[in-house]
């Protein structure tokens, strides 16, 4: 078991080091998400009360729609030659899944963390009681990371940059619902425990699905 986690750690480390060198997430995807947040009010009209109400929902929508780009980033893609090398090293496919999902989750957390204050500023939403949301940010990051990596494994080698978002977005609807309900719940003082639980359950299911399907998907890709 320790061997599996060690291998996963090596994969995650490699992914993060590559991202550090190319800067694809920080320098391209994050500004893209920021531009999207800016664009929406221009389209729906700059009515301050309206923006304040839709702000959190817009934030989570942008996180999900643009966050999936983080999981399909070019810098993390393993080409066929690299896949062969990894396979012949005896790398456990589950370790590869865990490592990639972990690296993606961390980058997604950064993505969320940079966009959150920006959304607060642009939409003028009240940050009161937002500290609960800090629990949601990691849960969504992990869930999206797992989902994106799983979708990438399913779509391996088949126009992934367009196909993976198509697979991920509908499946991420429960996450989107839960995250925005938590934010809304905090705003109106409603109970949020059920939604948090939904996020946790989703993350666990995705993790199990990813680990169990890792080997069959890897062999099927040949």
């Amino acid at each position: 078991m320790t061997g599996l986690w060690r291998q996963a750690w090596e994969i995650a480390r490699k992914d993060l080091r590559t991202e550090f060198r190319t800067g694809e997430v920080l320098l391209i995807t994050v500004p893209f998400g920021a531009a999207a947040l800016m664009l929406i009010p221009l389209a729906i009209g700059v009515d301050a009360p309206l923006l304040e109400r839709v702000g959190p929902g817009m934030y989570w929508s942008v996180v999900l729609l643009f966050g999936v780009l983080v999981t399909v980033r070019q810098s993390a893609a393993d080409g066929p030659a690299q896949m062969d090398v990894l396979t012949l090293l005896g790398l456990d496919p589950a370790a590869r899944f865990a490592g990639r999902a972990g690296a993606s989750a961390l980058l997604l957390l950064v993505f969320e963390a940079v966009l959150a204050p920006l959304a607060l500023a642009l939409y003028g939403s009240d940050p009161r009681g937002w500290w609960w949301v800090l629990a949601v940010l990691p849960l969504v990051a992990v869930g999206l990371g797992l989902l994106g990596t799983l979708a990438a494994a399913i779509a391996a080698g088949v126009a992934s940059t367009t196909l993976v978002p198509l697979i991920v977005v509908p499946l991420s609807v429960p996450m989107l619902l839960a995250a925005s309900q938590v934010t809304e719940g905090i705003r109106v003082g409603a109970t949020i425990f059920g939604w948090l639980l939904l996020l946790v359950v989703m993350d666990l299911l995705l993790a199990v699905a990813g680990v169990l399907s890792a080997r069959p998907l890897q062999e099927a890709a040949r």
Partner: protein, 237 residues
């Protein structure tokens, strides 16, 4: 600065298990891609200590056969065993670390340096990190170890792959057009690798378009024609 005479590298690795007498044993093996047969009714037996040259025209199935031997493909017909593991069963996953494959495209990560690439391989495979510097020196990349793979020429990347194979010390070495685009010194490395595997009691299969170039390395040739073995011949002198 030329490297000092290196001590022979001996370390723990996947090659501590004994090699079966027949490293490769394929019987009437066929591989189909969808409905198209790529390999048909193929028999091949390679003994421990042998090096075999695989030749044939483009499209004859050489690369597919190599990938089959690497356990990256499973046969659709027939029975095959590599290093004693059946190619149609999960046994083949266990022997993968004992196989070394160098394909057409370099399998290095472009954003990592040559040293980082090999250190990554070493850590995944459980090989001590000190070996990385040693193998880089031996393939002549010692001075370039901190250069990113993307900034290296094709020849240098190919040498990086040779270093990887030296690191993992496979029992079955599979080379697909390893000589393509290499200078004569690098070609010597290929001979060195094949010789090394043979002396350890493993086997090597070398694919090439130029039989003359690999003739000194191999004991016999196997020719593929349209996915099946043509009359096997002995090595040209």
């Amino acid at each position: 600065m030329p490297p000092a005479t290196p001590a022979p590298f001996r370390g723990p690795g996947p090659y501590t298990r004994p090699v079966p007498a027949a490293v490769i044993d394929l019987r009437s093996v066929g591989v189909r891609l969808g409905d198209t047969p790529i390999l048909r009714d193929l028999d091949l037996r390679v003994e421990a200590g042998e090096a075999v040259g695989l030749i044939g025209a483009n499209g004859s199935g050489k690369t597919t056969l190599l990938r089959l031997l690497a356990t990256l493909l499973a046969p659709t017909d027939g029975e095959g065993a590599v290093l004693g593991a059946s190619l149609s069963s999960p046994e083949r996953f266990a022997v993968r670390p004992r196989i070394g494959l160098i394909g057409h495209t370099p399998g290095l990560y472009p954003q990592l340096t040559l040293e980082e690439n090999l250190a990554f391989v070493a850590r995944i495979a459980g090989i001590p990190g000190e070996a990385v510097g040693e193998v880089l020196d031996r393939v002549g990349l010692g001075l370039a170890r901190h250069r990113r793979a993307a900034a290296c020429s094709h020849g240098m990347q190919r040498r990086g792959e040779f270093a990887r194979v030296m690191l993992t010390r496979p029992d079955l070495l599979l080379l697909d057009e390893a000589h393509a685009g290499l200078d004569s010194q690098a070609a010597d490395l290929v001979a060195h690798l094949v010789e090394g595997v043979r002396r350890r009691g493993g086997a090597a299969v070398v694919v090439s378009h130029e039989p003359g170039r690999i003739a000194p390395l191999v004991g016999r040739f196997v020719e593929l024609q349209a996915g099946a073995v043509a009359d096997p011949g002995t090595a040209a002198s």
